[in-house]
Symmetry: none
């Protein structure tokens, strides 16, 4: 299964609604399984710097097939993947807000959100993710 | 005046409709006056490589305040801006499909399209641009 | 349909056989539809600089969904896509030797070869490509 | 002695067998003494992001002439090589899974693996490395 633009926009809409509810203007990105943009939306007043963070989270979750928050501990000094955030041109983001989008046991893309705290970004991304899974049923 | 996400999505919608009419799956990007994404949509089946081209056209038109096709002649061997496409990390795109979005005499952003021939990309971008100007009246 | 590593290695083997027949040590790359490596082989004595050219050709053909030789004319001074080879971090290669791998009407990856003249590179890439299409029947 | 493509493929085969045994789809890279690809294989289902990690490990081990895991301590805060992972364009990888390939007292190339935990990656790389040393006897 491939994520269509329509799928991506539905996910982004659900994330934006969550973002409005908690008053966190955000950038929301959906990428395909290769980490390439399907859609990016920057909500009004979301910081420009969040574009790179949102797109980076989506990229990371897609190509490493893991939510970005799992790297938050693994990349700390003394931990197994210390240094992973500085390789690959600095494209891997190691804090929460990026989640792979899964179809059965296959990663078919990812969603990444940035605009608030890591916890808020995760909630906003999860809102988008859940809407897709619900729609997919 | 600032381009809102809602404005950007209306423009993208108009461009996508034109793209469907002429059967050219495209990537459509709207950026702000600083060349930063407001929204990017990749239509189903648009080539992945068109993401860079679409976003690059929008960036170029915004930060140089000119439609990208005006550079097509200026950057030729022997012409005044020969070499402009190789500076700035290769971010300036020198063929048509990117247009500044203007409010009075101020450039407030840009739209960039990629997916077909240069002429098709220009038509698709212009469809988005016109919808904004009409809406702005 | 996805290209497996086994598919990619069969294609590379066919390209390598052609390369040996015409005595052109080459680098042969097969990428997926997103332009990401499935396999890269550098034959003994192939120039190191051909790695970037081979991988770039495969990337270009995958993400722009066209054989790289079609850009050779389009990117010349005065032509429509003049400047395309300097954008996207210089990743687009605009001479022959890269071909999309097609399943029906879908591009599922690409093959790129470098080591000899453009004509030789195209022959070597085509040998790989044909072996896949034959195998796919 | 130079590593031939045939040598590299034998090593990769041994690594892939180990990877299958422990069910860790991996990317396996063999480079020459200059850190340039001889061969890269991405096993089916290995994450795309592991391409950069695998190739980076092989590059690092070849050009620094050390297994990558030795940097894991040396690059920690307060340690001698703190910062080494952020220089050179972020190309040095400082966790395990890359090993130099040695002929006598000369480094003639390196192998790098990525797909699982650091320990799994090291096992998979070592399987390739050992097969070469055995073959070389």
């Amino acid at each position: 299964m491939k994520i269509t633009l329509e799928n991506a926009l539905s996910m982004i809409k659900a994330s934006e609604e969550k973002a409005k509810t908690i008053a966190v203007p955000s950038v929301v990105t959906v990428v395909d399984q290769g980490g390439h943009f399907i859609a990016v939306h920057r909500m009004d007043n979301a910081p420009i710097g969040c574009i790179q963070i949102s797109t980076g989270k989506a990229y990371t979750a897609a190509v490493l097939k893991l939510p970005t928050h799992v790297f938050a501990n693994l990349c700390q000094p003394g931990q197994e993947l210390y240094g992973i955030n500085t390789i690959n041109g600095g494209r891997f983001i190691v804090f929460g807000g990026g989640f792979p989008i899964v179809d059965g046991d296959e990663v078919i893309g990812a969603i990444g959100c940035s605009g608030g705290t890591v916890e808020q970004d995760m909630q906003i991304a999860e809102a988008g993710l859940k809407s897709f899974q619900k729609g997919a049923v």
